[in-house]
């Protein structure tokens, strides 16, 4: 299939960027969006032009490296898939596809479609871990956790930290990301020990990084490649409230 790609090109963090249109010819409808970029980049290199820079790693939707806003949607059209899982058959022959980097003040563009997402790492450093010694692998059923709670924690833990929630949110809020990270640990006995300190520090860091405020319109949940529920944001709010009230 043939499409036109209108893509954001920006040489570096400090230089202004602009949109450039490229004709992409003979792409397989079964190619992923990233593979389409690979095909285009080969052409660009052959012509002696700078290839389009984009983040990628596993290319099977589990690492959280890739992330492009495609036609106004984080990770492109469809639900529950990262950019690497988006197939070209999602578009029509002759379409003009607009590809932009995540747009948020805490995510400055490094080059073309690559943004600096270390703000999310700094939120994790602030408290997204268990520092208590949990010992070796416990015997089966030594720590009893009800199945629904374990499932809920597992759902939260499926967050791959891609930043689509921030990119999709009209306020560039990171509440779904922080909600998932706080939730997965707050639900489990190993994480409960430091729950209070964790939520205080992670929310504080999130605010310092300059993310916006959640206005509960749930665009994040709709665009999350792991379909993480906004009920984790409710849990984050509750955990944070408990630190002040209790």
């Amino acid at each position: 299939m043939n499409v036109t790609l209108k893509v954001w090109r920006q040489k570096s963090k400090n230089e202004p960027g602009r949109f450039v249109s490229y004709a992409v010819r003979n792409v397989s409808p079964d190619a992923s969006f990233l593979e389409m970029l690979d095909v285009l980049n080969v052409e660009l290199v052959k012509k002696g032009e700078e290839p389009i820079a984009f983040d990628h790693d596993c290319r099977e939707g589990i690492c959280g490296s890739c992330g492009i806003v495609i036609d106004g949607r984080a990770h492109g059209p469809g639900r529950g898939a990262a950019t690497c899982e988006l197939r070209m058959r999602s578009f029509r022959e002759g379409d003009t596809i607009v590809a932009e980097p995540w747009r948020a003040a805490p995510f400055p563009v490094i080059k073309d479609l690559i943004v600096d997402r270390t703000a999310m790492d700094r939120i994790m450093y602030a408290g997204g871990y268990v520092s208590a010694k949990t010992g070796g692998v416990p015997d089966g059923n030594a720590i009893l956790i009800p199945k629904p709670v374990a499932d809920e924690a597992m759902d939260a833990a499926s967050c791959i930290g891609c930043g689509a929630c921030v990119a999709a949110c009209p306020n560039s809020s990171a509440m779904l990301f922080v909600g998932a990270k706080v939730s997965q640990l707050a639900l489990l006995p190993q994480g409960k020990v430091e729950a209070k300190r964790r939520v205080e520090r992670m929310v504080d860091q999130m605010d310092k990084e300059g993310f916006g405020n959640c206005s509960n319109n749930y665009a994040c949940e709709a665009e999350c490649p792991k379909e993480i529920s906004v009920t984790h944001i409710a849990r984050l709010n509750m955990e944070f409230l408990k630190t002040t009230v209790a």
Binding site: G72, R73, E100, C214, S215, Y218, A234, M238
Partner: protein, 228 residues
Amino acid sequence: MEKLIAFYNSSIGKKVTMSLTGLFLCTFLVEHLVGNMILFAGREAFDSYSEFMVANPIIRAVEYLLFASLLFHPLVGLLLWINNKRARPQKYDVYMLKENTPLASRITMLTGSLVFLFLVVHLRTFFIPLRFAEVKPSPYGLVVEAFSSAPYCAFYLVALVFLAYHLRHGFQSAFQTLGLRTKSYIGLLDAVAFIFWFIIPLGFAAMPIYFYFFQPATTAAATALGVH
């Protein structure tokens, strides 16, 4: 106190302020609607209810809380809105938010601002004459007079549509911010939210419709003047 200031300074703290003031305003809406229903019982009943409300010290005390909420809710909302705009200095060329979110949630700031403007006019029409005029008019008469005007009725009804949209998003949002919109309560919350965003504005809409269509203009003018 230090803990409270730190809480308020956080993003979640400001959202909780929005939530609590919003929910307080929602409880006021219930009281206001129930009280206004007395309008259908006639002039005497409504005027004596109005008199009771003005004379009641508890109601007067709660009134301060109401005005504080009316001030803080839009003010903190504005602060959050400015902050949110700063979080995305470079806009998207194409941004399909409408594919992922309901309309009500995308226009909360707009509907809120319009409801606030409506409230200014609303207070000017009813509250200020009733509270500050040298010769206190009949509350029932004021209502009849206001709703005998077609443009005022239309303005009132349009404002109620904006209020409905504001509550459509705001009510569930308030519970989400308080951490109470959990999987087990989403169904119940949606049902209660329906009462707030649909039934209550509909109840308020009944008044201009009733007074405009079912009260002859001559009677309306006579009642406004206090002629029995």
